[in-house]
């Protein structure tokens, strides 16, 4: 029943004429788009005695719902200077009721709105015309043309090795969203692709989406996504065991540094680092740097002037400490700017130990001055952080944004139950960066 040869020859000619045309018009290797924003003041001297010191970091909870999990926040700055955050929330990570929530922060009022649902599995499946069983990490970016992109991990059934990524676009800073689109990134049933790190832009308007394969030992990639939401190229950053969950920090039109979570590495683990000098066509093999990591997500940000700022769990085992670190030399060396959280001394308390409840209460009140009754925070923390007769602390999955005025905003998961927001005054950061007592990490 095969077609007659003349017909077949004609179809073949047409096919390859179209094929070579498409091939000739494929996107050429782009350069990075370097973010333009307020310059970071360099070398600010420490405040003189009697001089008004810069304000210390301020914090509050971005999420306000108790007794649910809240995890993996992603933060973007909107066109009017407000910030929008996305995170997943539900009965627990990986349950079918998990939704992607969003809330908006007004820096002038210093307040977060109530969170609302932006994506849920059933609705996303109907929009994709395919079954979606559960949702995972979101990753968002607002591009220079004002489009807000949201990428979400989805799974039809089973675990994260069965994942794929879906993209959504908003033209009104997240008030409404267009039809979702599945990103096709692997030939194996399009499975095992996940996202976490903040996307970035190329000079031709395409997006760079840091991603990772979660099958076997996992490896890191960057997916190049066009304006329609289709993957049009990809670059491999690592091989299995060399790190995953990349955070890409663009430092120039051709230069970037990627920090990788040390997945697949035996302890003691160190964060991995890779560089590119040709806008991602080639990446150096990931190598460990002097940043301890318990195999957890990390996030970095390139500051104007070339400094790299990162937030990570600088511990060997658990995620009960979180630090802000900086590099002045393109990631070759790092030093601690501020220990944001540190509960290593109270690691693995017994649930009956009153210290756990008292510590959680104190941390909640220190985080947010509006917290009057801290008992729900204790209850929620116990729910997600107590198992096998022990209670733990977790401060993880940071998301960093530098706003147009230079202020740094950080979100991270707080005991798997809340999203904590910390804002850093640029003057305070400059002072800390200039502090010579912050010795390089080894």
């Amino acid at each position: 029943m095969s077609p007659a040869r003349p017909v077949l020859a004609a179809v073949t000619a047409l096919a390859f004429a179209a094929g070579f045309t498409r091939s000739l018009h494929r996107p050429s290797p782009p350069s990075f788009r370097v973010a333009t924003s307020a310059p970071q003041a360099e070398g600010r001297r420490p405040s003189a005695p009697g001089e008004r010191r810069p304000a210390r970091p301020r914090s509050r909870f971005a999420s306000k719902t108790h007794d649910v999990t809240a995890h993996a926040a992603s933060l973007v700055e909107l066109g009017d200077g407000r910030l929008r955050a996305f995170w997943f929330s539900g009965a627990d990570e990986g349950t079918s009721d998990v939704r992607i929530l969003t809330a908006v922060f007004d820096p002038l009022r210093d307040a977060w709105t109530e969170a609302r649902t932006v994506v849920e599995a059933g609705g996303l499946g109907r929009g994709l015309f395919r079954h979606v069983g559960k949702l995972g990490n979101p990753a968002a970016i607002r591009t220079s043309d004002g489009t807000l992109w949201l990428f979400v991990v989805t799974v039809p059934f089973g675990g994260w090795a069965n994942s794929a990524v879906t993209g959504l676009r908003s033209a009104d800073d997240g008030e409404t969203w267009g039809m979702p689109r599945r990103l096709v990134a692997t030939p194996l049933f399009n499975r095992s692709t996940m996202v976490r790190g903040a996307p970035f832009e190329y000079g031709d308007g395409t997006l760079g989406l840091p991603a990772y394969q979660s099958l076997l030992r996992g490896f890191a990639e960057v997916l190049r996504v066009d304006a329609s939401g289709a993957v049009v190229d990809k670059q491999r950053l690592s091989t299995p065991g060399q790190g995953s969950q990349p955070s890409v920090m663009v430092t120039g039109e051709s230069d970037a540094v990627a920090l990788l979570r040390p997945s697949g590495q035996p302890p003691p683990r160190r964060a991995m680092l890779s560089r590119t000098r040709d806008a991602g066509e080639q990446w150096t093999p990931p190598a460990p740097v002097a940043l301890r990591s318990p195999d957890a997500a990390l996030e970095g940000l390139a500051l104007p002037g070339g400094r790299l700022l990162a937030v990570l769990n600088d511990t060997d085992l658990e995620r009960d400490a979180l630090s802000l670190v900086v590099s002045d030399d393109d990631g070759w060396s790092w030093r601690t700017v501020e220990r944001l959280e540190d509960q290593g001394a109270d690691r693995a308390l017994s649930p009956d130990d009153g210290r756990y409840a008292r510590t959680v209460e104190a941390l909640a009140r220190a985080t947010d001055a509006t917290v009057a009754d801290a008992s729900p925070y204790v209850r929620s923390s116990r729910r997600f952080m107590c198992w096998d007769e022990r209670c733990h602390f977790e401060f993880s999955y940071p998301s960093l944004v530098r706003a147009r005025g230079g202020e740094i905003h950080l979100l991270y998961t707080w005991n798997r139950a809340y999203i904590k927001h910390v804002r850093f005054d640029p003057a305070w950061l400059d002072e800390r960066l200039a502090d010579p007592s912050n010795a390089p990490l080894r």
Partner: protein, 215 residues
Amino acid sequence: MPRFADLLGLFGSAVVIVAGAAAAGRRLGLPRSKLASLTGVVAVAALVPIGGLPLSALLRGIAGDWSLTTLILLLGDLHRAFRPGEETFSPRGVRALQVLLTAGGLFLYPLALGLGAWDPYRLGYGHPWLVAVLLLVALGSLLLDLRLVTFAVALAVLSWAAAAGESRNLWDYLLDPPVFLWSLASLLARASAALARGRRRGGDEPVRIPAGSSR
């Protein structure tokens, strides 16, 4: 309103479901009329939404979109189900396609899984070398009258060039894991059978005693 890529994806999953039902029906020895009824009912179930999404959407969520090569083979199988005794594709063409799919899969999948730093999947985003190799395959198969190969390759390239499916990668139009595994299994089965035949000939050949010789 679904995009064309979604319609193609749903159609592809429906073909897989219907072909599976037809194969099961043939195994059960259903007469042609009952087989037609079965495939009709299954096709409706696969395409008509019941309480939300149709069955094809469930399969699509699990397995993703199928390659055009898979769909061509399955549609050919369905044709044969209703026209027994009629060869849809020449066995020679099927064997050649299986060889190419096996070679392509062995090249693509291990490296795509992370074996090494180079990812051949990246070629599928329009690298001219891959298109050139496929042109050679298409021309060669046309000259050798392996029409199934020519048709499958040409249709995959044309669909990719037209961005008909959800993927922008040419590999996804050419092959998928099930058709690769089917090809590999078929080749291995044929090789194994040939080996067994060779052994039988070697062991069971009767001893020939030349005429006139004495023992």
